[in-house]
Assembly symmetry: C2
Homo-oligomer: 580 residues x 2
């Protein structure tokens, strides 16, 4: 039982006679071997397979410097370990019976500038050569971070042959590669529901495996404050979900260090002044409308409360939070939130009521907050990142002068390409997280309780399922989005990249992997080497089989990425397409 893929079969008629070449599947990939994200250049002129020598090792140059590198070292040993224990058997092997070349005994890894730090815009390029004769492969990069990208490519060029269970590496391959966009990330919300550190580490590993380079850690929100801060310990003591559900400074250090050894930056977000209901458990006096009923117009979802920008005590707390977070996270970006200020919530407070009575506005109140925090963030050598709302909210927003373009990056989530355009035209650098394309929590229905809208006997087909950002974003939807759509070259240069987002109202460790992967992988390729082929045509057709293969590899790596299609589709190329 499966039922018409279309509600109306008539739509199908459009495609009915486009093709009858049932025997001729479309080309599923331009290379016989698949690497995800697809490298900018990969050539395999005369395909051979090199058995991996059991004594395979990775040699470093310059050895002294690299051997001491605190983050490359673990990356290299991890790669060797993974390679030697690789068990992946492709559903469809890269090529039927490849001739065997001499065993691959070593990889010579050379880094031109071993001291380049991991920061926004760092060079991630690399080139990889696996000869078909000599037993040594070569990986050259400008930085250790580029080297880490190359090591992930090497892993994906290896597989176990079904015929004889021999672990082989594609020989005769040349790859030269570098990303299109410098900022490629995954946002995870650890406030609505808690994720143990092990889940964060597994996610960081998956992020790196997909050549993404940012883990945007949405640490706190209205529902819980899991981050233990030395200067304000009460925030987590009272605002977290409990003793076993907090991130200690050493937890944070572990995540940051693990991410560094994967070439992944950890961008912390402490959302303020909205989304701070959880702060009220420790500091009730600085939070307005705390613990009130959300649907009385006081919040976008259950969990009310906003920092009071007019109380001096607010800044005692906020300053310590900012200083602590900056000291915990070496990353140069500091995300300060500033989204979804709810006017009614602030209006419940007498202080703010007086301020309004004296002719003040809520936008001025927000500007007060930004004026007191933005300079501090900058003084700590951080670039401030805010959600677009700080500037574009119809109800409460600041003047551009409060968030100078030199020290501010804006993250967009509304109105797709339109808001991106608005922001870059205002001169801001932009990170794209359009809810229409990159919100991975969408389409899962409404989660608030006592909802009589679900108590109807009729069909619900065609109705909004109750999720504000319906429908579910499929991998093709994610893959096809052009984050610089409609921009001129100058404007496009201000788009730093994108982030898929997983908001956790309906997520926790039980579903984390499947919600993120392989859909985040779809963005990873679009931002690394683009979503078009050489002729400029979108390559979503041939990407399907490649992404299915990559999903299989991820599952083998311990990442529970969700399935895309019946397995049958992979062995019948083109037959599961909408149009052949």
């Amino acid at each position: 039982m499966v039922h018409s893929y279309y509600p109306s079969f008539s739509l199908l008629l459009l495609f009915l006679f486009l093709s009858h070449s049932q025997s001729l599947p479309i080309p599923t990939t331009s290379h016989p071997i698949n690497v995800w994200p697809k490298p900018v250049n990969l050539s395999w002129p005369s395909p051979m397979a090199a058995p991996l020598s059991p004594s395979f090792q990775i040699l470093l140059s310059p050895a002294p410097l690299l051997r001491l590198h605190p983050h490359l070292r673990p990356a290299v040993s991890r790669c060797s370990r993974r390679l030697l224990s690789l068990r992946h058997r492709p559903i469809v092997a890269p090529s039927a019976d490849l001739p065997l070349s001499p065993p691959l005994r070593s990889l010579l890894l050379s880094v031109a500038d071993p001291s380049a730090p991991l920061r926004h815009g760092v060079d991630e390029s690399y080139s990889l050569r696996i000869p078909s004769s000599a037993g040594t492969a070569h990986l050259d990069s400008r930085t250790v971070w580029g080297a880490m990208r190359g090591l992930e490519t090497l892993l994906q060029l290896s597989w176990v042959r079904d015929r004889d269970a021999v672990l082989v590496v594609a020989a005769g391959v040349r790859v030269s590669d570098a990303p299109l966009f410098p900022h490629r990330g995954v946002l995870l919300d650890t406030s609505r529901n808690y994720y143990p550190v092990r889940d964060l580490l597994r996610t960081v590993d998956a992020v790196a495996a997909n050549k993404l380079n940012v883990f945007h850690w949405h640490l706190t929100d209205a529902q819980s404050f899991p981050l233990e801060l030395p200067s304000a310990p009460e925030l987590a003591e009272r605002g977290s979900y409990g003793p076993g559900m907090r991130y200690t400074p050493s937890d944070v250090a572990a995540v940051v260090d693990y991410a560094m050894s994967h070439g992944v930056r950890v961008v912390p977000e402490i959302d303020t002044p909205g989304h701070t209901g959880s702060w009220s458990e420790a500091y009730p006096d600085i939070i307005t409308c705390a613990n009130m009923f959300w649907a009385d117009g006081l919040a976008a979802e259950p969990g009310t409360g906003q920092l009071n920008p007019l109380k001096p005590q607010t800044y005692h707390v906020v300053d310590s939070v900012i200083r602590d977070v900056v000291s915990l996270f070496p990353e140069n970006f500091y995300h300060a939130g500033a989204d979804e200020i709810n006017p009614n919530c602030w209006k419940t407070d007498p202080t703010i009521q007086d301020f309004l009575a004296e002719g003040g506005t809520l936008s001025q109140a927000l500007e007060t907050f930004v004026n007191k925090t933005h300079p501090l963030i900058v003084s700590l050598n951080r670039t401030a990142v805010y959600w677009e709302d700080v500037l574009l909210s119809p109800s409460v927003r600041v003047a551009p002068s409060a968030v100078p373009t030199e020290t501010t990056i804006l993250q967009t989530w509304n109105n797709g390409p339109n808001n991106t355009r608005l922001l870059v035209r205002a001169g801001y650098r932009v990170i794209v997280s359009s809810a229409d394309f990159y919100y991975l929590d969408c389409g899962h229905g409404g989660w608030v309780g006592n909802d009589s809208r679900y108590d109807r006997p009729g069909s619900d087909t065609g109705t909004d399922g109750g999720s504000w950002c319906d429908p579910f974003k499929t991998w093709q939807r994610v893959y096809d989005y052009d984050i610089t759509y409609g921009l001129g070259d100058e404007e496009a240069r201000l788009v730093l990249g994108g982030e898929v987002a997983l908001w956790s109202e309906q997520s926790d460790p039980t579903v984390l992997d499947a919600r993120l992967w392989p859909r985040a992988s779809a963005m990873a390729e679009a931002l690394w080497s683009g979503n078009r082929d050489g002729s400029g045509r979108k390559r979503y057709a041939e990407a399907t089989d490649r992404l299915m293969d990559w999903r299989e590899r991820m599952v083998g790596r311990g990442i529970n990425a969700e399935p895309m299609q019946p397995r049958w589709c992979r062995t019948h190329p083109g037959m599961c397409n909408l149009v052949q």
Copy 2:
């Protein structure tokens, strides 16, 4: 960042001023202890907690008979083991500080009719008494199957106290319980993607934990034929996904036996004559339109092919399949499919073309198939179950006389209550699997490749996401469905129960648990004790917290049920409701 729960905030205004009693949460449950599905009668007049004695044991009466019972024995030892090793700490404990009663040393389990076999309509009632004084609890039931339901209730009456980590059982509780509907099941499709036996066993365990009693095993379909049949081994040898992806007769025996020891019936489905493309690998001659391009109007989804009802060889194969399946599955229901016959597929075949040329119709062709198979199924002492299409398909259907009401049960999936009414008015017993309420795969977007509809720069909010049965069915949607809606008492008696369905185009072991649970649990309660409280009001409001608790227990039991809400909601009763 979370964004208005509603696309338009205006909708909210409807509810804005219904309530301002932020301090007064609605009652979250009528009992201080939660059992899911809610028992028909549970009373706990003077709540106490009995520490579970480390020497706790379950005594049987009549001992000789029950000790020898092949299915009760494992159920009893499993329950003791689970109880003694229970680690569940409720987010919100049943009651603050319950007085301690004497330790619970034993459960006396008495069964009136130990020989009653597990079959449709068997008595599943039980009563359970856990005294607050004596150290012995009593579980009485008519059948061993009812006893298994009672054992699950006992497990849910136990928890670990946060205060002192003591494992306690609710003392002073009386439960008398029995289901509203005799048929309460979960359908799993193991053809689109394969599930190892361990996943089936875990699912059966979850089915039993929710007091469901049917595992509808949709074994085969167009994409793969994983079932090894002694009389037709080629079907799996050539039609399965591979050697490691088949169910051997001993696998089936293991699943059936495990299910029996959980009081769960395994209803096998071999979908015919449609959805049989995978048969063509072994028997190309009996399949029409095999391996053609689906979108040319030949199938509802990729994977074409239908059994040719006009070829004698077809029945050589089908007869062996039916006989083998009947011998593998003791269950009295045999599901023969018969859904979604595609006219164009049959029309590609010369034999059928001739038949039509001579004035025959496709409905006659289908009737030929049913007339040759239905009597065989019945002669093997099986009741035949078909999808409603066999009778209601607008294009290809049989006359009612071909499927007599005495030997036929119809499973409905279209048009919600309307088709249920049509079928019972025609005199048929009905199993309800309305796609609008019970299809758990819906709302996940389109999975066919090369789909240019996803290549659009604008917003997709409010659009159909590409899944034919959008939107995602939330637990409240599932919970609120009344499967006898609009029926008179006589008609309602023909509704045997319901099944949630998980079709596996986009599912496999990585997502199995989260797709099924806790949404299948929502149906489990609606079909066990209903979805209304004593006053006849739908109880979805108070069910939210209870289901969250049950979800936590399931996760603790190794079932990766998905989260329903932020954990915050459970500790703030009523605050996550749409209306207080």
